[in-house]
């Protein structure tokens, strides 16, 4: 057996061990369904906020202090214009009240009504209307103004029939600028979200071998680089299982989505084509995972205790968010120096290049980027293994490399 084949076999043996040791545990179910738990809490919170918001919206009013005939005209115009708004964007309901006494005083007094929240009041006549609005309700005041104007225009048009345009939905054949930009952000955010969830798992994996003292057996039988790569691939397998599970679930939910939303998703028009984009998304997710994972694995391997491993979670999150921010800036300014820097810097490269796949065509930059990123995975793994061998895998009270750097003596 050649040396390369032996190392590959040993790497896969370790990957298999880590994969099964992670997946075949009750804790894995908790991990697998963590997004569901998160979504449930989000939904509960959102529902509560929506209820509070809905309750408040139900009590909001646009008050009319007009003559009865003008109130009917405004009511008709409101019915027509209100159809433009859907869902939560509906303006407050119209509350037509009889005008009496000083209209200005009456309008001012309407805002003191404790039974409802008066957003705006229209008073006077439709030829000379005045609108008062409470702070934060300028849009409602504008709506009332448009409704009043529409009411007058309708009267002036007389009985002539108004045109009824035919409305038809079309799907863009060519990728629009908006579609490409949306695809870019989708790619960057998608990979960020997945790696944020999944790559941090790698950081503590070497702690198991150190605590169980299995590392000595592994190090005698297998090159440390194979140990590191095997552990990384094992956890990548776990990540793939997680992604496959949720992709299946979400695809089934997606089939139940209303046509408008599904059509909206179809507006994601990556420049490289949907098939190629999906392929590159998967490839860049893989390299992003392996890059961040190899760095986290190398750093985590230096930690002596689980407490030290836990302390690493904050810097890890900061690194991930920083890479996301860099790649997002690159997507916003695709031809800038920051875009080039983001594509070249190993840890942000997968994010930036995924965004680029959505924004511009051409395969060669991606093949070169993937090779570049995989080279850095190899560098990170080799460096991590060497630091581990030099700093940890020796008898006596030798200190890990980072401790020797930070703590003298």
């Amino acid at each position: 057996m050649t040396r390369a084949r032996r190392y590959l076999r040993q790497t896969l043996t370790i990957a298999r061990r880590d994969f099964t040791a992670t997946v075949f545990t009750p804790i894995f179910l908790l991990f697998l369904f963590a997004p569901l738990i998160m979504a449930s809490f989000g939904a509960i919170g959102g529902l509560g906020a929506a209820n509070a918001s809905q309750g408040s919206a139900d009590k909001a009013r646009l008050v009319l202090l007009l003559a009865p005939a003008e109130q009917r005209m405004v009511g008709t115009a409101d019915t027509r214009l209100r159809a433009l708004f859907t869902g939560d964007r509906q303006p407050p309901a119209i509350d037509a009240r009889a005008a009496a006494g000083d209209p200005h005083q009456q309008a001012r007094a309407a805002f003191d009504d404790a039974r409802v929240d008066v957003a705006a009041v229209l008073y006077g006549t439709l030829d000379q209307p005045t609108i008062l609005y409470a702070a934060g309700n300028r849009d409602d005041a504008r709506y009332l103004a448009v409704v009043a104007r529409q009411a007058v225009l309708t009267v002036r048009a007389g009985t002539a029939p108004l045109p009824e345009p035919r409305i038809e939905r079309i799907v863009n054949g060519a990728p629009s600028l908006g579609g490409r930009t949306a695809s870019s952000f989708f790619a960057v955010f998608g990979i960020f979200f997945l790696t944020l969830f999944l790559s941090g798992q790698v950081v503590g994996t070497m702690a198991e071998e150190r605590n169980n003292k299995v590392i000595e057996v592994l190090a005698a039988a297998v090159p440390l680089e194979s140990v590191f790569l095997g552990k990384l691939l094992g956890m990548y397998g776990v990540a793939l299982l997680f992604v496959a599970f949720w992709a299946t679930v979400l695809s089934q939910i997606g089939m139940l989505l209303p046509a408008d939303i599904a059509g909206g998703l179809r507006q994601l028009h990556p420049a490289i084509g949907m098939g190629g984009f999906a392929l590159l998304f998967g490839a860049y997710f893989t390299t992003a995972y392996l890059l961040l994972g190899s760095v986290f694995l190398g750093v985590g391997a230096q930690a002596s205790t689980m407490r030290e491993v836990q302390m690493l979670s904050l810097p890890i999150t900061i690194i991930q968010v920083a890479m996301f921010a860099l790649a997002s800036a690159a997507v916003s300014h695709p031809d800038s120096a920051i875009a080039t820097a983001a594509a070249l810097f190993p840890l942000s490269s997968p994010f930036a290049m995924a965004g680029r796949a959505a924004a511009s065509g051409g395969w060669w930059p991606h093949l070169a980027a993937l090779a570049w990123q995989l080279m850095w995975v190899a560098i990170f793994i080799t460096t991590g293994a060497r630091l581990f061998r030099r700093g940890v895998l020796q008898s006596g009270s030798a200190k890990p490399a980072w401790r020797r750097l930070l703590i003298r003596g």
Partner: protein
């Protein structure tokens, strides 16, 4: 099998940790098919030497040849190793643990699992084949790890302090297993600071202290470094008896011990009988490996050990 006749050759191995030379130019030559002991007090550099020879850590200077290759990793599938710090995955079963180590050393899972079952049965752990490692006693877990080191039938078996933590019954089992491996044709290299095992098992041994090799040879050659001891019990004793015994004679209860005189013990015994001290007990004993070890490494370097005279 090594074509040079040696399974392991170490030439001037040096390892420094900071300013400290933990191993300072150690030479070893382990004949193929032999049981070879590396003896030394705690902190002598035994484990570091073994680790360097296996390629776990790299020497700062010197060279090593393991099964005819200067790259120990290339011989990885032909080597079995039991480290000083025992370690197994607690969530694995005994069978999985042995099969996992077999897979690391080149066997496929199916073969590894089959051999694991056979080995566990033969070692008296048949009842624990599917038990989790965390459920096993320390001695049983140690035995499982040892089986993991031999499951791929290595040409070279390296055991670092294999007897530590084992009860006498399991120590005996381990000795039997080592002898069985030697009979199979394997070379066994083990470190220990317990002399009985080395004395019973080793064909050759090296004694290391302070990072340096102080002795290399057979057990008999080590014991021959010290003169034979006379153990004498008189029928009666008084204050003048020590004057008749050779210089340096020491009393241990009723017994007196002294170095066998160069002209033999007969003349001395005649004088003792004539003086009325008589002979209630007499034996002439070769010094044990423990005594030789203490002599070689220096008394201060060694914790008190059991009497190993034979």
């Amino acid at each position: 099998m090594a074509s040079t006749g040696f399974a392991v050759i170490a030439d001037g191995l040096v390892k420094r940790y900071g300013d400290r030379r933990v191993v300072d130019g150690v030479d070893l030559a382990v004949p193929a098919g032999a049981i070879y002991g590396v003896l030394g007090p705690n902190g002598a550099g035994k484990t570091t030497t073994l680790r360097m020879m296996l390629g776990i850590i790299e020497p700062d200077a010197g060279a090593r040849i393991l099964l005819d290759t200067a790259h120990p990793r290339d011989a990885g599938d032909r080597v079995g190793y039991l480290p000083e710090e025992r370690g197994l995955y607690p969530s694995m079963t005994a069978r999985e643990a042995v099969a996992f180590m077999a897979a690391l050393r080149g066997l496929d899972w199916q073969t590894g699992r089959a051999r694991a079952a056979d080995l566990l049965e033969a070692a008296g752990l048949g009842h624990a084949i599917d038990a989790k490692i965390r459920k096993l006693s320390k001695g049983m877990a140690q035995l499982v790890q040892l089986l993991g080191a031999v499951v791929h039938r290595p040409e070279l078996l390296v055991l670092d302090e294999p007897f530590s933590g084992l009860d006498p019954v399991n120590q005996e089992r381990l000795e039997a297993l080592i002898l069985a491996e030697r009979d199979r044709g394997a070379t066994i290299l083990f470190s220990t600071h317990v002399m009985q095992h080395a004395q019973r098992l080793c064909d050759r041994l090296a004694i290391i202290a302070g990072g340096r090799r102080r002795f290399e040879g057979t057990v008999d050659e080590a014991r021959a470094l010290l003169p034979q001891q006379v153990h004498y019990v008189p029928v009666r004793a008084d204050d003048t008896l020590p004057d008749m015994l050779p210089a340096g004679a020491r009393r241990h209860g009723e017994e007196w011990r002294f170095v066998l005189p160069t002209d033999g013990v007969e003349g001395l015994l005649k004088r003792l009988i004539d003086a009325g001290y008589g002979i209630a007990g007499l034996s002439i004993e070769r010094p044990g490996l423990h005594d030789a070890f203490v002599r070689i490494v220096g008394r201060d370097a060694v914790a008190p050990g059991p009497d190993t005279t034979a």
